[in-house]
């Protein structure tokens, strides 16, 4: 399964004047829904008696994330260490992950999350599947593997679609596929004993074109809400309600 180590979106600091974003003091975390994916992958791997490898591509600080992923149930972790300064877009990320998946032998199933909490691009999984030449099943909320056949329930807007395909396959999952339990003491301590491996991108032997971003970021601006923020905190509930209704009436938004 693939998980991403990202900055906590709630801790980005935005300069209200320039809208410049400072992520340096934001804590890092495993992308929220990737935690559900780890759990789904753990269950799936258990059901077919496979080893579960956690795969991440990111800077050196992703090391902490590796420990967390191991505590959450990954048997072994591979951290492809991103080149300092090089920017990865979906194109680069998918090529790197595909190269690393090929290096692991006998992979039956790769799970990604539908979207990561920083990019939410819905891109990496299907791109990766295509590069591997495997069938792709996206947006899955139920997953079972029997023999060499995968059966999945996809969420398509207001419809649920059940599909089947043979392994190996790439599946992207939605968080409802499994809850993400908080790891306990033994799991956390056990994580330190599980194997993990760091692979420099260069060791993957990818051609330059595969590791050169297709897109260039020319601007990155934080969002600054321009709301009035009238706080109604004190006094009796009725007073707050009266103040609110008076305000809304003045704003002309009541019918």
């Amino acid at each position: 399964m693939c998980f991403k180590w990202v900055a906590a979106e709630g801790e980005l600091r935005v300069d209200p004047a320039t809208r410049a974003v400072d992520a340096s003091s934001a804590r890092r975390k495993i992308s929220d829904y990737d935690r559900n994916t780890i759990e789904a992958a753990r269950v799936a791997a258990g059901s077919i008696g496979s080893e579960l490898v956690g795969l991440t591509f990111g800077g050196p600080d992703a090391r902490t994330g590796i420990k967390d992923a191991l505590a959450r149930g990954v048997d072994r972790a591979v951290h492809v260490v991103a080149d300092e300064g090089a920017r990865a877009d979906g194109h680069v990320t998918a090529h790197v992950l595909a190269a690393q998946v090929r290096r692991l032998e006998d992979v039956d199933l790769v799970l990604c999350t539908e979207g990561a909490s920083d990019t939410y691009a819905h891109e990496t999984g299907p791109r990766l599947g295509e590069l591997l030449g495997w069938p792709v099943v996206t947006n899955v909320r139920e997953l079972t593997v029997e023999g060499r056949t995968l059966r999945a329930v996809r969420v398509l807007g207001a419809d649920l679609e059940t599909v089947e395909c043979d392994l190996p396959a790439l599946v992207t999952v939605v968080p409802e596929v499994a809850p993400a339990p908080i790891p306990g003491l033994r799991s956390v301590l056990g994580a330190a004993k599980k194997p993990s491996e760091q692979v420099p991108v260069a060791d993957l032997g990818l051609p330059a074109g595969a590791v050169t971003a297709r897109t260039t970021v020319t601007s990155f601006l934080g969002y600054v809400a321009a709301r009035r923020r009238v706080v109604l905190a004190d006094g009796a509930a009725q007073d707050k309600v009266d103040a609110l209704v008076a305000g809304l009436a003045q704003d002309g938004v009541l019918r």
Binding site: G10, L12, V14, V21, D89, H91, S117, D118, Y120, A121, H122, E123, G125, P126, R127, E130, P135, V136, T138, R151, R154, V155, L156, G157, A158, D159, E161, T162, V163, E164, D166, E176, G209, R214, T215, T216, F220, L221, G222, Y223, A225, R227, R228, R229, V230, V231, L232, A233, A237, Q238, V241, D242, L244, G247, L248, A249, D251, V253, L254, R255
Partner: protein, 308 residues
């Protein structure tokens, strides 16, 4: 420049994409699956409509290689894909086959003078806006509702049918509809949004009553729909749900994570009711009411009714 290709499995969305594309290039080709879809799309004023045809009734995702092949053969610059669950997959896989750029859910697309492209998209679920440029072929997904569906009276684009091979490795076993309420939150003038702070079974009546007093639609946050199953999924607002732009949004027991709040950014007036004075929702509110929704909501409904 050989024009923009647009694709969506949903003909209405394809027609919207045709509008977006027409503003960017002289030549717009609409790609669709099956003759039915082509009938509505010939009236969009597109340069041509390309129908991909295969035996049986394959799922749209089965056409990925065919679509990529078409792009490559015709030397297409840009493929716009409707950002649905299917469109996300199709767009990303086509980009992989073309080894090209992809911009997900672009809000603004610009053709730069030197033949390069530029697009804006949100990052961190709405915490930031990123502008990206690229040259060479690219795929851009565009969310529904970004443009008015193109309809050029009297126009009849030439239709070209291309027989293609499809990928049948993924087999559809069944398809069922989840509960639908047929609500169109996007056009609601007032929205009462239920969060997990007001998501016990009995609480829904409270929210319903306030919505009734305000003549508002009831909406919710993602966990209320997806985890609790209290309301149909098309009622949840946010980056992965509905985008709304009402005159009034009232959040009841909503914490205000950006993934949710990005969905009502265009609301004229935002009200939050939450017990926690530090709830992130209050940072993006016009009125922050600190209090228990169980207590405030009935009073608010009564006060609104008293004005009628």
């Amino acid at each position: 420049m050989t024009g923009i290709y647009v694709f969506s499995e949903d003909p209405r969305l394809a027609a919207e994409l045709a509008t977006t594309a027409a503003a960017l290039a002289d030549e717009v080709h609409v790609v669709c699956l099956g003759a039915d879809a082509s009938r509505t799309l010939t009236a969009t004023g597109a340069t041509s409509v390309v129908v991909l045809e295969a035996a049986g009734a394959p799922r749209p995702e089965a056409y990925v290689a065919a679509l990529a092949g078409l792009m490559r053969d015709r030397g297409a610059d840009l493929l716009l894909v409707g950002a649905t669950v299917t469109g996300w997959e199709v767009g990303a896989r086509v980009a992989a086959l073309l080894d090209s750029a992809l911009v997900s859910e672009a809000s603004v697309i610009t053709a730069l003078p030197d033949g390069a492209w530029q697009a804006e998209r949100v990052m961190y679920a709405g915490g930031a806006v990123q502008t990206e440029t690229w040259s060479g072929p690219g795929v851009v997904t565009v969310a529904p509702g970004r443009a008015v569906a193109a309809a050029v009276p009297g126009s009849a684009s030439p239709v070209e049918v291309v027989a293609v091979d499809v990928d049948t490795r993924v087999r559809v076993v069944s398809r069922t509809a989840r509960v639908r309420s047929g609500v169109d939150l996007a056009s609601a003038a007032r929205v009462v949004c239920v969060g997990m702070g007001l998501a016990e079974p009995g609480d829904l009546a409270l929210a319903g009553d306030l919505a009734d007093a305000l003549d508002a639609e009831v909406a919710c946050t993602r966990p209320v729909a997806e985890d609790r199953g209290l309301l149909p999924t098309e009622r949840y607002i946010g980056i992965s749900g509905a985008h709304v732009h009402p005159d009034l949004y009232v959040g009841l027991g909503v914490s205000g994570q950006v993934q949710h709040t990005v969905g009502f950014r265009d609301a004229k007036v935002v009200v939050g009711i939450n017990t926690n004075p530090a709830a992130p929702l209050f940072a993006v509110c016009d009125y922050a009411v600190v209090g228990d929704a169980h207590e405030i909501v009935p009073l608010l409904a009564a006060a609104v009714r008293a004005r009628h």
